[in-house]
Symmetry: D2
Subunit: 387 residues, 4 copies
């Protein structure tokens, strides 16, 4: 019989729901060596967290993460609180010898991220960061193809993560627009994902040059609390946007490939447009999160005259993770990537292996993020090795 | 507090899993007036059903549906057994005063379907048929647009449901290729879906003319039991395919629109290509199940020179069912349609209303299916009113 | 040095312009064994035809096609007049021993078409009909693939030709809506094209069943003359639409394949949507005239897990006709198909071979068109061999 | 009657053919105030140029451009020779008081380009550069939309021009890979186009930072002459590639928009993928040269729930240049952009106005190109105003 892993989840909003669903569903679809038990969910608002516990199916709830971290019946702390709380909670979990599963970004800056990694390593706990798009079957297929040499030597990675939810200048300041809470804007929120995908698929970054911009520098304030600490004027005044609306950068990878990255919240019409294209000496692949069940693939070795990008529906039983789901071309959705992450996490814990992606990946992603910020500020190329 | 509806599910394979997942997940995402309780799952193979009960989270299991139907602690019987068992099980459930949720097709022929509807109506139970694609948000959006007059008067419905899983002539005879078990081939399996979508979106059928074909008339036999009763020769001989590989038909709708329908399992490269296009006097819509989170829409009233089919990502909180899920452009998958069906079923039971689609829809779909078969056999147009 | 073929063109509107451009351009791009000389253009309105002669580069003009047909310096008569004039002009040309290149449809009905073919054969002249889409490189590539066995045995042809230019009920009666001039509506105009493509690619039709509809039965009249003979009321009254708005039919091909066809002018948003899909035992192809430089292709023999429809840009030098044009992926346009037709015509004349498609193809297309009309009227299947 | 403009064309290969076709066709489709007369074509190889003159329809030919430039019967010199000859020929034409139409890039470097512009301005001749993609109707439509304020304030320009013709390391050194002849590689060839489109659509560049790479540093040599001067070893040795395979850069525009640019010849599967996306405060547009008859458009003001990128077929009579061509959705091809350029040039000459784009645009494009090269070499941001 499968080992049990008792989970304590911090956060019960968007991410808390996605993680709860993953713990709840994973055993229905996957055979695992360890199964999660939904022990406790934690949030500061008792009414809210209590309702969430009931709705999502947690056995109990806590209103203080420190109490959660100390509970003997908890093996794993899952951190989905806002970014500025990641470090404190993860450190507390580690101190208490819990495994940690942390939402991205790992921390607000590189120093904090490194501290978290060091603590986790010294404590000998399992640590994982939720770069969930790695486990979209189409992305995992691309990874397999690259590892198998199907694309040959990689020349180009071209990634964008485009959204448009703050194009309206009257959209108010929410926590994601407050540097103290979010760390950064589109950069940490969106570039973090495509940087991780590039590392996963192409390899390590060598150097970067970038720029950042805040197009709308002031926005309406909102009420206290809802924005993570900003104090709204009674007059309904405006506050300063302290994060980037858009960040673009170029990179050279260690293996000689060239990369282009762009994150923005000002691309009208793009809702969740996380798209990358990889060109190699033997072929190319294209992925777009908005059609996450598909992978475009060009094979240079197809016969002359019959060549073209083919649309692979990444829903075939032969594709990663798919056998657990439905017959071919019955698509899966966004939250399935969380289920796959939890599956990988349970397998790692059961087999005493380090999960992937781990805090190491969180740190390496942060190195690139910070290098880009430095580059934008100093208007120069920055080597990752100097970070 | 929400009322409870105790569910007994018959079947634990592909459909049993999809239904189980729906019962398990629905309360995490939707606020309902009645919540399902996963009381018992039923299957003939004890080892199999016992494992399924555990894996899917059912409280108990049964190996005979008749025992299930008699249990006092069951309010609703959900029938996902092979098509030839639908009638017997549904009738048994009705006899015992249970509500019934039945997979499509309702029955193997029209007479049986009508008998089932009559029994359900006389017993006063709730009855629902699982035409699940109605609840894909993009389809529900199309329905809303049509009801709101956005497309104007409808002129054309153009539907295809294309698959390719038996293109290989060496693919063996499975239960879906055996008329005694499946009732029909591509017609009942695939056309049933697009007929229902056409009824849902355009209205009732008036007359049809069609043709059917079995391209590969003999196929390798498989072992006893796995094909629903066919006896395989020890020599590995061949058996006769007794269902259609492809069925096409034309229709006139009651409201004057024209329709074209095609179901086939011989469309190489099409895995689950359930696509329809509707043209009205004010605009058009296009849906494709393989990209089920999208709806194409053409608006005749867009300004000259700026007209074109627009790609609506049917993932906006304003779209049907979406508010329960994720932020815009975070897509949902195939199984979510089952969750939406269960949500609708629970609301109907709680509020003492008839769910939609009900057995009435199952019967009306069967009228069209049978009319097409008759038309193909007699090589003539058939009026639905003559069925 | 290349032989010269002296051309006389009847018609100077849309089709007259497309044909003129073809004669003017063909020698710049193709090496031919015979080159066209633009001798004379003919139209009833002297002012109009004179201006056209100058603008399009014709050496002279005529206002009566009979004068043109009698000119000794003319080798080939090209007929682009309205459909109801095809027969008379073609017969006159044949009588005078001229080769004939005729726009589709060959005639208004089968009897006329057969008479034209017989006359041309007896006179021993070259005869060609302008089913120009055969020479779109993507279509010609599909033909080559099928001939080479790349798609295997063909199971399905699925063709639609959708337009929307008369969705507005206030659009007036033009010649294309007048049966006396046009012969039929969407059927002869649009289905004629996809019937020919199906014959070209799949083979001969065996039997058909179809239906036709005129959604808007009366429309505003226009001035005398502009509608090909309709008399407009001084009061600005309405006239009866005498042709079909939409015609759909099903077919069985001689080789066992099944076909579905639809022509309509009531598909809002579809401007020139001539699309077909062909499914065979080894693969499929999809063509859409609106993206006429592309051919989608699915290969059943691609490796498992890497299969998918690939988008071939039919602009490769290895593709039919392309070497004459631009480097790969520099697309060509609609009128290029006319140039390809003229190229084929010139080669046939130079080498004393019958061009393809010839009047034989015009007759065979008309057989299918008429069979469908008969089927729609008699509400029954019609065998082509009975026509 | 229209004025005549006597044209002398230098070059008779790919570009010579495209220009010849433009002069030959323009009057058939456009009403102009001045019409081109195809007086003379010029090339160094007498046999080649003589055949071209005949095939393309030029009245005469020359083998030395200096002779052409001196001919009294020439009003306009059109320069399609390799890039390293642009300056000398254009200067010679200007000296002789001829108008000049020059292929891009204007010159191999900024100093030369400025000299050419100054000479042309001093001589008072008309000067035009062939940034032909400006006149693709979809691009011209985008320009009109932006000028009309349809997209609002522009935030982002995202352009790539991807090709793959030298992915194979055994592809030999041709003139485009030789810096002495071509000036640069993908940068001047491809980025030049998207820089011009960005200037045309968004505005002037303020500063850039970029990088360039030559992935394959040595390639097989080819025979003398065919590569524009490289001497091939008799042993079939290798030579050094002296231009960039790929060049990427970021930019800030004067108006505050951000831009991303990439040119490469190493994007497997991309043949002529010139694609840009522009995001503004009110909407977005997307163009892709491989589907040059289409423009995607997102309108922020579409009703909630019905928003999406719409696919405009830029073939409507209301669209720029289209009225001269075919009915809606009958697409045009690559060479039509040259015809539109010639039309604009003729109108400008007839009305004594400066054509657009002129050498001014050639110079400004070169400023950006050179700034990027400088940035790549010095690994720093470069202001355009410093060039």
């Amino acid at each position: 019989m499968a080992k049990k892993v008792n989970v304590g989840l911090v956060g019960y909003k968007f991410m808390g729901k996605a993680h709860s669903n993953a713990y709840s569903d994973v055993a229905m679809f996957f055979d695992m060596d360890a199964e999660p038990v939904m022990k406790a969910i934690c949030g500061r608002n008792e009414e809210g967290v209590k309702a969430a516990a009931e709705k999502f199916g947690w056995e109990s709830y806590e209103t203080n993460w420190k109490d959660l971290a100390k509970r003997d019946d908890i093996d794993l702390i899952d951190v989905t609180a806002p970014s500025n709380a990641h470090k404190e909670i993860a450190m507390g979990a580690i101190e208490n010898g819990k495994h940690v599963f942390c939402e991205k970004p790992l921390a607000l800056n590189l120093a904090d991220a490194r501290e978290m990694l060091q603590a986790a390593e010294e404590a000998g706990v399992k640590h994982m960061i939720n770069f969930n798009y790695r486990t979209a079957p189409a992305v995992a297929l691309a990874k397999k193809m690259i590892d198998d040499g199907v694309l040959g030597k990689i020349y180009h990675f071209r990634g964008v993560y485009l959204q448009d939810w703050i194009v309206d200048p009257d959209f108010p300041i929410v926590w994601r627009l407050d540097k103290n809470v979010a760390g950064s804007g589109s950069h940490g929120d969106l570039n973090a994902h495509i940087i991780d995908l590039a590392r996963f698929l192409v390899g390590e970054f060598k150097s970067v040059v970038g720029m950042e911009e805040t197009f709308i520098k002031e926005r309406p304030l909102t009420e206290v609390g809802t924005t993570g600490g900003l104090v709204a004027k009674a007059t309904g005044g405006k506050g300063k946007v302290t994060v980037d609306d858009a960040t673009l950068f170029l990179t050279r990878f260690e293996n000689g490939a060239l990369g282009s990255f762009e994150a923005t919240r000002f691309a009208a019409g793009r809702k969740n447009h996380n798209r990358f294209e990889i060109n190699g000496s033997k072929g190319s692949v294209v992925f777009n999160l908005e059609r996450m069940n598909e992978l475009e693939y060009y094979n240079c070795d197809d016969p002359e005259g019959l060549q073209g990008f083919r649309l692979i529906q990444a829903t075939d039983p032969s594709h990663p993770y798919i056998e657990a789901w439905w017959p071919a071309a019955h698509i899966i959705g966004y939250e399935h990537t969380f289920i796959h992450q939890v599956y990988n996490l349970m397998q790692a814990i059961a087999n005493d292996e380090m999960p992937s992606p781990s805090f190491v990946d969180g740190v390496k992603c942060q190195e690139v993020l910070d290098a880009v910020v430095k580059s934008a500020q100093e208007k120069t190329w920055v080597d990752i090795s100097d970070m």
